[in-house]
């Protein structure tokens, strides 16, 4: 039934019901518009960096209650003021998740992978959209050559697995930061985390990588991982947290992962704030300020995993903090 037909049926049904009980109201014709669509557009967006093609693929967004300690070194009312200043609802953590895929012409490379299919149903489709949006963008996950992981939080690694808990990217080499592997795979560190909020993360890391036999390639900071994509150590959020510079010709983008995480806009504006999920909070601040000072000076494009989709923009200095100017959406590639 197309929209027009259905609308006439609905209008007819309404009129029929009304004719029995409400005949006087029929002086005003009763009708209905085409039914609402109730559906969002496919969550991907494409832009070029030199000859490379970047496809931004949203994994979705969710809204959770705002923890009292969401920002460890700022009172909740100040955090709420900053949330309201971004026109988002107070007392809520409104977070979005945005991995990317880079086609360099010689390699098809995914950087991070989203929260995973398991959370799709649980969140009623709010998150875990990555694999569906990847397909909508025309990207066959079995054509991915390399998956580069920035760090080992679940929203970055869970999408490595498919519905059968196998590697979702059947032909891909999975590259992970060596210091991240060292920290999370250390049994002593896991023992120390027993009973703390980190325990679940240690278990999840083992679940995800164990599912494909821990077959990963470890990499250090400051290395070219594939031609045109270099790693840059930006620790603090996690011990081995790593960003990536994607460069082609004279064009480049800093793929910052979680240099600002969660509600990233809060930490762009207030870079000294300590996000509860930043494991070494002073080091996270230091990495953030160092990177953003450089980005602002160089006017270099930044792609943020937790920036709102499509997640690319320019960092400017503003007072004691920074401001993100989103890219101008281009309706043609």
């Amino acid at each position: 039934m197309n929209a027009l037909t259905r609308r006439h049926v609905l209008a007819g049904a309404a009129a029929a019901g009304a004719a029995t009980a409400l005949t006087p109201l029929l002086n005003t014709p009763i009708r209905a518009a085409a039914p609402t669509a109730g559906k969002q557009v496919s969550g991907w967006y494409r832009y070029k960096v030199g000859s490379f093609e970047i496809t931004v693929v949203t994994d979705g967004a969710n809204v959770n209650p705002l923890a009292d300690t969401y920002v460890a070194n700022a009172p909740k009312d100040k955090v709420n003021d900053a949330i309201a200043a971004s026109y988002l609802p107070k007392d809520k953590a409104s977070q979005s998740y945005t991995p990317i895929v880079v086609n360099t012409g010689t390699k098809l490379v995914a950087i991070d992978t989203g929260l995973g299919l398991g959370l799709y149903a649980q969140s009623k489709g709010a998150v875990g959209q990555y694999h569906a949006n990847l397909a909508a963008a025309g990207i066959d996950r079995n054509a991915i050559d390399t998956v580069i992981i920035s760090h080992f939080h679940g929203d970055h690694i869970n999408g490595l697995l498919d519905a059968d808990n196998k590697l979702a990217f059947s032909k891909a080499e999975v590259m992970v930061p060596a210091p991240e592997w060292k920290y999370w795979m250390d049994e002593g560190n896991m023992s120390k985390a027993a009973g703390t909020p980190l325990e679940g993360n240690f278990k999840n890391v083992r679940r995800v990588f164990g599912a494909f036999g821990n077959k990963v390639t470890q990499y250090e900071g400051g290395k070219e991982l594939v031609p045109g994509i270099k790693s840059l150590a930006t620790p603090g959020h996690t011990p081995g947290h790593t960003s990536h510079i994607v460069a082609s010709g004279s064009d480049q983008v800093m793929v910052q992962a979680d240099v600002t995480a969660a509600m990233a806009f809060l930490f762009v504006r207030n870079p000294d704030w300590h996000l509860m999920f930043d494991m070494d909070k002073p080091l996270a601040v230091q990495s953030r300020r160092k990177l953003y000072d450089q980005m602002a000076a160089d006017k270099m494009l930044v792609q943020g995993f937790h920036f709102r989709f499509p997640g690319a923009g320019y960092i400017e200095k503003d007072g004691n903090g920074y401001r993100l100017v989103p890219i101008a959406w281009n309706p043609v590639l």
Copy 2:
């Protein structure tokens, strides 16, 4: 041929060619990634205003040389500085076009219609995307009940016609601002415009509306056009230029049309600047400041035809001008 197959064929062809002439290079395996997609996502985005569903439909974006008189009362180097501050290329007019459709539950209403199908081929797909994106958004143009026009510039009215130069919205009532109709349909005004840049606009207005027998409904400012959509006179850009307030429950959005036009970001930041296309420039400034002061005070959502897609955001005061804070993209409706 799927992406994976084609990639293997391409890699095979490259290897075969190389084997003849460049055998020593084969020490490094020659391969290609999946082919680049070369395609942008469908240009629509959806959000709710109360129970209403707004579908933003891009008509595309184009880049033209920057006229010396683009801003009539500011030197070109200042204009270029403001363009660069928005990370767009200097000496270029980078403009985008973003009509919307509102489903109120009882009416399906298009507000403005884009540059028209004629420009699609001419611009190589850069603009004239509206009708294709409308279909991609699942909206049948024959289900549109009402088309509301803000003013009579070609980028707002040309999409009223289909490829056969008939009304593209077969069942729609077309509503136009009465003062706009009066001005452009006046033969004396047209005679006076002969030989000026406005002459083409007078002719285009007659071409478009004449194609469907001038069957329009004229409306005044301050009126409810359909339940939930009111007109607001915001003259200056053109004599009868009109904005629209879409309201459902306690939620509302100001559909501002061309209160700031062309590269709208320039005139948000510099509201006193005179865009070459603003017909009564001081009046345009007055309408702009009046509306934006109210929008900033009310923290009311604004949808701008020439804001970058998806074109919705909040206006803040900033120095002697304003700043647009784009909405946070929501990957679920």
